[in-house]
Symmetry: C2
Subunit: 383 residues, 2 copies
């Protein structure tokens, strides 16, 4: 298949592009390098050094003989988006090209507005381009498990069968997200479902859990193919950050009581899920939703797992929770759709964490410990 | 109370400002005149001539001795929004200041993006301004019954008690709206609920039905206090448009089968509902939702009512439906919240329609009949 990976220079976009290329697909990536720009703004960078997109693509070709096309531009520029779809004519578009950090969206008003406008407008431009150029192009959109929040009922895959006053309907699963970023994804989901309804588009919305890990078989082929490994309090995901804190001999920083439970998954499962979604497309007019996660775990259990596996002393510190979220709650998620398509999950194992310890030790000299402490507070509405 | 009416130059914002002023409140209005701009763009205008905002306010003062403050500016300009709230220090903000026409949002990509960005960013700027300046300011936000779509279960007021697999939660009512405009209001509702949760704001979301009528006791005091009366296919609401078609001896144009059922209300009830919401504010942290409508009616029944009341021959014509919507569906809406606060509905009666006939006859020479035919098609994704 011809697959276009939007946000293909990012933490997950890049390994996904490699995996799709490796498994025989014709791949192009698009990026506006917003993620590298956030690094400049925050004075942060990936723990593992990453090459330019041009070098990455050249190395991949050198090692495997496979080409990956490159489009440099911004989805918010409708002319760029439309011209790219017209030229590449993908069978599927994998859409990672959004601002993806909840704390970034909560820095202040400007960052909140930027996040929602960037994410919503980029996705709308893409919907219009697909509808106009070829409505049979399958949209594979990255959402987040955080869209659901923490309801007191089971979390289904995007839709819910509701009986109320003796009548029944299948409705979009009601969502109550916890940041302006998560809200932007909820807005996207509503817009996409509507586009499926009126233009007969085929879309898969992947509500992804918190991803951990840094290597896939493809990125491991060469240092120059490495993907990002973020540990700062804004872009670092929780398990990755704990591993780095352990290696540095610093306390693992748990927000509040740590009973917050989240869906998680291994980066190797992310790239496989995307492949499965592309190879088994949604039907015309279908808004299909998968919960892209392999297990649930509380933050304090993730910390305990890292502490247990680390060959050395580890302490755990509970910080005042900068977020507004329930610290003890029910959490039970249906996530069978991708397993039915063939996903064989890598569950969180000692092995994987050890590999992260090795990576971290190798690059420990690059850590700026200050970046690990949360500075963005949900309760303060910075203008 | 001190009440700021955003969008106070519009069809409903202006009569609301007058009603609040008349009932003893200290009122200011804000507007960027976007609505007058859409007229220029579409080559349309209100059937009833309207004065400039400056003249309206001067006439009101001349007749009643009451002052209405005026702010000219755009909510999307955060500095303007914030400075206005700082200066006027309202107890309540009534927020009508959004692009409000579904067909306008469906013209093409640019209009869809404009509608969502304008509505969502304006509301976000307002939320940040309130949180920053005084979180006790009560936000009274105009939503629309169209946010819900037409579910096969009863429509509750914003929240739904769901039992699923033996567990229960109170969730935001699941919505499935029918245009990029209606979607923008769903996005707003999610953003506002979040702001209530994290910043303890007090908000009332009024999901309003289709409004009909053109006069309130206050606008009727003087021709120069009149509000808009739109009949074009983009901004005209359905009953108003049917009345004008009847007076002109043209067929009433029903989209599709006409079984589409909608919540409706009299303009006099709109202004009263806003007053009730302001005078009985939501609690800090509360996201309160009312369904602001007084009865439900199908499009074909609205047409039949107009035909029955009109003193003359009326024909009804069914056009191909330009929208994507169910033409036969279940529709049962709970709308008791505002009645409990004291609303005494004006139900659709022959009297009211007759008054609309009179207004229409008086200004029939101003009609451009071409504007009444739908030109925006939901199925075509005009870029």
């Amino acid at each position: 298949m011809r697959i276009l990976v939007l946000g293909g220079d990012g933490y997950l976009g890049w390994p996904t592009a490699l995996h799709l290329s490796q498994t025989g697909h014709e791949v192009a990536v698009a990026d506006n390098f917003a993620r590298r720009g956030y690094d400049n703004e925050l004075g942060a960078e990936s723990l593992v050094p990453i090459e330019s997109l041009q070098t990455r693509v050249a190395v991949w070709r050198e090692l495997t003989g496979k080409s990956i096309g490159v489009y440099i531009g911004d989805l918010c520029e409708a002319d760029f988006t439309s011209a790219m779809i017209k030229e590449f004519r993908p069978d599927a578009v994998v859409h990672f090209a959004e601002q993806r950090a909840a704390p970034y969206s909560m820095i202040d008003r400007k960052h909140a507005v930027y996040t929602q406008v960037n994410n919503v407008v980029g996705t709308m431009n893409l919907l219009y381009a697909i509808a106009e150029i070829d409505p049979s192009i399958h949209l594979v959109k990255l959402g987040t498990m955080g869209e659901y929040g923490t309801p007191n009922i089971d979390i289904e895959e995007g839709w819910l069968e509701v009986t109320h006053n003796g009548r029944t309907d299948r409705v979009l699963y009601p969502k109550r997200p916890g940041s302006f970023y998560h809200l932007s994804k909820v807005h996207d989901s509503h817009n996409i479902e509507f586009a499926c309804r009126i233009w007969n588009l085929a879309a898969t919305d992947l509500n992804q859990g918190v991803v951990y890990g840094q290597q896939t078989p493809e990125t491991a082929l060469d240092d120059r193919l490495a993907t990002r490994f973020d540990y700062d309090a804004v872009f670092g995901t929780v398990l990755n950050r704990f591993v780095i804190q352990a290696v540095l001999g610093r306390p693992l920083t748990v927000y509040g009581a740590g009973g917050q439970t989240r869906g998680i998954l291994d980066i190797r499962d992310t790239v496989r899920c995307i492949q499965l979604a592309c190879e088994n497309p949604a039907q015309p007019g279908e808004f299909r939703v998968f919960n892209q996660m392999t297990e649930s775990m509380s933050i304090k259990d993730i910390a305990a797992t890292v502490a247990r596996c680390f060959p050395g002393e580890v302490t755990i510190e509970h910080l005042d929770n900068p977020r507004v979220e329930r610290e003890e709650h029910y959490y039970n998620v249906v996530h069978t759709g991708l397993v039915e398509l063939g996903l064989e999950p890598h569950l969180l194992s000692d092995t994987l964490i050890s590999s992260l310890f090795d990576i971290t030790k190798r690059y420990a000299h690059r850590v700026n410990a200050e970046l690990m402490l949360p500075k963005v507070n949900w309760r303060v509405s910075a203008v």
